[in-house]
């Protein structure tokens, strides 16, 4: 069957290119903006996702994993006695100032445990052994620190809150949402650095026994720790994400940008299809004169919109993929899941078809008798 839609589209290549560019712009904007958002948000829960903890015990109203408050470390003793708890340990999470060789100070986020390996923290170690942290004033520093702290190497020393620590290893992937790199040290060393942390912890990590339901275990822990909040891993991750999305306006910013991107796409497609419909009004009149219906013409416009959607999505998708290594150089991660990409494709098709429908009324009113006018 002859596709008048496709042939008309390709006959005017400049207009087709403009239409595709409009769709591709919208698609790229949405994919990259949301991808960046998801990448940034991923940092908000990176330690929650990697830690081998099924339940987190926090102080009251802790808004997210980075902004911890301390509570008595003896609470862990009650938690360990709860049925369904296989293991529970105190974790300290605290922002501390680190002095750079230049004399400047920067902030880092210290994670301190007695036994890191049991909790899969850190999850990627390039140099050094996390077991050695207990042997002295040693730290493992994340490679993302190079961006803010400058280059560093294993064997060098850095001062944290006036105490000298030796860098015995490096990690990667461990950075907080605030971009402060994570530094791992032994639990006892962290408590020595700050009076606030003496005999106190920021979190209790809990591993549930095989077959135990984390939600039920969390509920049981709430009974023995009434002055704390208790979350399953997913609940805690969700809370942390929600804090950054809502309180920083990040979610609103992303929403507005996505909306504007979609609006641009609709306007460009609607404009080009409407202009095309007006320019081809005599052709559509001819279609009607030889026996075609309005539906035949709607089908032409719909097919053109679909072609623009598919080609525009492909171009936009390729552009988005091309931007990922560029963003990576800026230490930004563009995370686009297959399901989200599929959703954007469906949205693109809907957007283009919706734009095409704006022309339907115009073509429905075409009088076939116009074919007789010069």
């Amino acid at each position: 069957m002859v596709s008048l839609a496709r042939r008309n589209l390709l006959h005017d290549r400049l207009r087709f290119a403009i239409t595709v560019a409009g769709v591709a712009f919208a698609v790229t904007l949405v994919l990259v903006q949301v991808g960046l958002f998801m990448g940034i948000l991923d940092k908000a829960t990176v330690t929650i996702q990697h830690a081998a903890a099924d339940v987190w015990v926090t102080s009251r109203e802790t808004p997210n994993v980075d902004f911890a408050h301390a509570f008595p470390e003896t609470t862990v003793l009650r938690v360990r006695g709860v049925p369904g708890v296989e293991r529970a340990d105190n974790l300290i999470v605290a922002f501390m100032n680190i002095q750079l060789p230049s004399g400047a100070e920067e902030g880092c986020l210290v994670y301190a445990l007695e036994d890191f390996r049991g909790w899969n923290l850190p999850w990627v170690v390039h140099e050094g052994d996390v077991r050695d942290l207990r042997r002295g004033r040693y730290i493992l520093m994340d490679r993302s620190a190079e961006r803010r702290f400058g280059p560093f190497a294993v064997g060098e020393y850095r001062e944290i809150l006036g105490r000298r620590f030796k860098i015995i290893g490096t990690t990667s992937g461990a950075a907080s949402f605030t971009t402060a790199p994570i530094t791992f040290m032994h639990y006892g060393n962290a408590q020595e650095l700050s009076d606030v942390l003496r005999n106190r912890a920021s979190y209790i990590l809990v591993k549930t026994a095989a077959g135990a339901d984390p939600r039920e275990v969390a509920a049981a822990i709430r009974q023995v720790a009434p002055y704390n909040d208790v979350y399953t891993r997913d609940e805690w991750a969700s809370r942390s994400r929600r804090y950054w999305v809502v309180s920083t306006g990040l979610g609103m910013n992303m929403g507005v940008t996505v909306f504007l991107g979609i609006l641009v796409g609709i306007v460009v497609v609607a404009q080009t299809l409407y202009t095309s419909a007006v320019e081809h009004v005599k052709e559509f009149g001819t279609v009607k004169a030889i026996g075609g219906s309005n539906r035949d013409i709607y089908r032409i416009l719909g097919e053109q919109a679909l072609i623009a959607a598919v080609v525009g999505f492909a171009v936009g998708g390729l552009l988005s993929m091309a931007m990922r290594p560029v963003m990576a150089k800026l230490y930004l991660n563009v995370l686009v899941s297959p399901s989200f990409a599929a959703a954007v494709f469906v949205g693109t098709v809907a957007m283009c078809l919706g734009a095409a429908m704006l022309s339907f009324r115009r073509v429905a009113g075409i009088d076939p008798a116009l074919v007789f006018r010069a």
């Binding site: 002859v2 030889i290 074919v371 007789f372």
Partner: protein
């Protein structure tokens, strides 16, 4: 000799247009019948109602009063779907400005018309080739309209009108944009096709050359057929 069947007839057609505060009666009771294989030339000055009459005969416009019969059947003018069906099945149009689809080749222009008429796939391709060869364009099948001469474009238009086997062809000033020689060739082609395919053919025209190929010349003045 048996009289040829009536393929198209209009009976007592009145057409009134509302233009602002005025009512303009463009056709004032026109009756005309076209038989299979007959070539009828419809002549008249500008504003006489020729194109309006052609539009009504082609079921594109509806009359204020009167009736249209195609192949002996009255066409229900209050049913847009039936009018479309009649146009698809029984009427072939040839326009003054050709009205070809510029993005489609000669073959595709004819094929598309067949697709609209419900003929698809290889059958449409075969029929398109057949009618284009009939009008002498067998070697121009894949040419776009911009690469065809005026006469060739009009031949494509004729082929498109013929495709699907309509009972009647309606041509509106088909030679207006052609030079004398080419116009004569196109008119001869029209007549040959109408006679060979036993189609009724109505040509609205100012061109005196049409008289030479017409079986009957009908004049129209001020919305009435001239005696």
């Amino acid at each position: 000799m048996k009289e040829a069947d009536s393929v198209l007839a209009v009976r007592e057609i009145v057409k009134v247009f509302d233009e602002g505060n005025q009512r303009v009666e463009v056709l004032k009771g026109v009756s005309l019948e076209v038989r299979a294989g007959e070539v009828v030339a419809l002549e008249g000055p500008s504003g006489s109602g020729k194109t309006t009459l052609l539009s009504i005969m082609g079921c594109i416009l509806t009359p204020t009063r009167g009736r249209v019969e195609v192949r002996g059947q009255v066409v229900p003018m209050d049913r847009p779907d039936r009018l479309r069906e009649v146009r698809r099945r029984d009427i072939g149009f040839v326009f003054q400005q050709f009205n070809l689809f510029p993005a489609l080749s000669a073959r595709e222009n004819v094929e598309y018309a067949l697709n609209v008429k419900g003929v698809r796939g290889a059958e449409a391709g075969r029929e398109a080739r057949r009618v284009l060869e009939q009008v002498g364009l067998g070697d121009r099948l894949d040419f776009l309209p911009r690469d065809l001469s005026g006469g060739q474009k009009q031949r494509v238009a004729i082929a498109r009108a013929l495709a699907g086997g309509p009972a009647v062809l309606l041509a509106d000033e088909p030679t207006a944009n052609l030079d004398t020689t080419v116009g004569t060739q196109v008119l001869e082609l029209f007549r040959a096709v109408a006679k060979r395919e036993d189609k009724g053919l109505v040509i609205v025209t100012h061109d005196p050359k049409v008289r030479a190929i017409a079986d009957r010349v009908v004049g129209i003045r001020d919305g009435r057929l001239a005696a």
